[in-house]
């Protein structure tokens, strides 16, 4: 089966930033959340995946098209929307729809009409009169109604008020029910990613820190609260991501939880008080601080 995208040993260097040696792929029908702080390289990776940027090293294939050589062919099957993308303020949504419809034979008029109603947009109104949330929804409509095989969304919910954010997330959740469609969306909001993604990749300072199924992240990471004195070698245990002591309390963040770890901690002189699951945000922060998740 042809992957929705596959990048291998990908690098892109700018004067003050470099994306280095990223290898990542997405199987069809999968939703991947790309999590990273501002400046982590999410936009650069999405530009490379849409053929807008050419890599300095490595390869990019999207829906079987080699990029950037076949960028136009790939973008016929890809919906790309980014937080820094704007529509023409002096023109209406109808005008934009008419333009995009002429370019994409796959344009679905019925679906577009459904989305207009769902997003409560006024198609004849010029976009200058739209709120930021409405403009984001209009942009998503223009992406979704062309029925792309792969959706690339760069920070789609950034700057939205809670209501608009919820509407956009619900619309995306609907789209994601289509098992043939693959989605990569970037965000620094781990709650959005946790809600929508099947697979999660962490990007930090231009490097891929982790890439795994959401469930394996949530299953494997644990916060273990102990009493006692942490042995000096604890932080070097392969399954331990971070150790923090406060008085007699020791918090151990574990990247690969196993039931026998409690016994090993006890043998090392620590009494395990609690074992809690970690949120995706905690996992992300711990992973980037420690330089890896797996």
């Amino acid at each position: 089966m042809i992957p929705a995208f596959a990048v291998q040993s990908l690098s892109k260097r700018y004067p003050h930033f470099a994306l280095e040696d990223v290898s990542l792929s997405l199987q069809p029908g999968t939703v991947m959340g790309l999590v990273g702080a501002n400046g982590a390289g999410k936009t650069t990776l999405l530009r490379l995946l849409s053929g807008l940027a050419a890599p300095d090293a490595g390869t990019v294939e999207v829906l079987g098209h080699r990029l950037p050589e076949a960028q136009a062919d790939a973008r016929r099957e890809v919906g790309l929307a980014s937080e820094d993308m704007r529509l023409y303020r002096g023109r209406s949504l109808d005008w934009h729809i008419d333009l995009v419809r002429q370019i994409f034979p796959s344009w679905d008029d019925d679906y577009a009409a459904t989305l207009v109603r769902r997003f409560d947009l006024k198609p004849q109104q010029t976009l200058g009169g739209y709120s930021h949330g409405q403009r984001v929804k209009a942009l998503l409509l223009l992406c979704l109604a062309r029925r792309p095989k792969l959706l690339l969304l760069d920070e789609p919910t950034t700057g939205l008020d809670p209501v608009a954010r919820l509407e956009v997330l619900e619309a995306l959740a609907d789209v994601l029910r289509d098992e043939r469609r693959s989605v990569l969306f970037s965000s620094h909001n781990t709650a959005d990613v946790e809600q929508l993604a099947d697979r999660i990749a962490f990007l930090h300072a231009g490097r891929l820190v982790a890439d795994a199924d959401k469930e394996s992240f949530l299953d494997q990471w644990r916060r273990v609260l102990c009493l006692g004195a942490a042995p000096p070698t604890l932080a070097a245990w392969p399954e331990v991501a971070a150790v923090r002591s406060a008085g007699s309390q020791v918090e151990v963040r574990v990247r690969a939880w196993r039931e026998d770890l409690s016994d090993r901690l006890a043998a090392a002189g620590l009494r395990v008080e609690r074992v809690d699951p970690m949120s995706l945000e905690e996992i992300f922060v711990t992973a980037v601080r420690t330089g890896g998740a797996a």
Binding site: R47, A72, R75, R76, L80, S82, R86
Partner: protein
């Protein structure tokens, strides 16, 4: 990598630019017609006022076409939307050049034709046509250079500098060709005389304009990607 342009898509993008800017450019044409009407009065005060207004309109139309279709699109981030469509750098470059040449070319040609008609149809000496065409030639060259820079350089400051500098040079240009007897002399008569210096200047203007546009199309169209 295919270097065959997608002509239907380029046509769509050109039409898009035309639709976006046609109202404002119609306003420039209207202002130009007022300038031509003043020229047509064939009185010294009206001639000077009309000529000044015509130059202002031409320069403004040139700067408007470049700034709205390139600089403002960059600033307002609508270029990102265009680049999300299935366009290659070659399609994008050709569409931007063609759209810009169309949006400026239409008012430019209307005003050039109108100026010639006014000169030939009023007591203004017919020989002044050559002088007027050379002035129009300078604006065309300044426009071509400004467009080439705007396509390549993102800095708003540099673009503004090149646009203003090249357009403002029309004043010394008028003074220079006014000092060339082979051009200034026949301009005061009813004989339309294309002297060797006039033809050489016009040829240089057209050649440099064509080179600026061709170099821009060639160099930017060959890029493998936008970034």
């Amino acid at each position: 990598m295919s270097f065959a342009p997608n002509l239907p898509l380029i046509r769509l993008l050109v039409v898009k630019d035309w639709q976006l800017f046609q109202k404002q450019l119609a306003a420039y044409v209207l202002a130009g017609i007022i300038a031509l009407a003043l020229l047509g009065l064939a009185k010294p005060w009206a001639f000077h006022l009309g000529a000044t207004l015509l130059l202002v309109v031409l320069v403004a139309a040139a700067c408007f076409a470049i700034s709205t279709s390139l600089l403002v699109e960059r600033k307002e981030q609508t270029l990102a939307f265009v680049m999300s469509l299935p366009v290659t750098p070659l399609d994008f470059t050709l569409a931007k050049l063609a759209g810009n040449l169309l949006t400026f070319g239409v008012p430019y040609l209307v005003l050039l034709g109108g100026t010639a008609m006014v000169i030939l149809g009023t007591p203004i000496p017919d020989g002044f046509v050559v002088f007027a065409v050379l002035v129009f030639g300078h604006v065309l060259l300044a426009y071509g250079l400004s467009l080439a820079v705007a396509m390549r350089v993102e800095s708003e400051g540099w673009n503004t500098f090149v646009m203003i500098a090249s357009m403002v040079l029309v004043n010394p240009f008028i003074m220079v060709i006014g000092q060339i007897d082979a051009i200034a002399g026949p301009a005061r008569t009813d004989a339309i005389t294309w002297s060797a210096p006039a033809l050489a200047i016009l040829a240089a203007q057209i050649l440099l304009f064509a080179l600026a546009i061709a170099w821009t199309a060639w160099s930017l169209g060959r890029r493998p990607a936008f970034y």
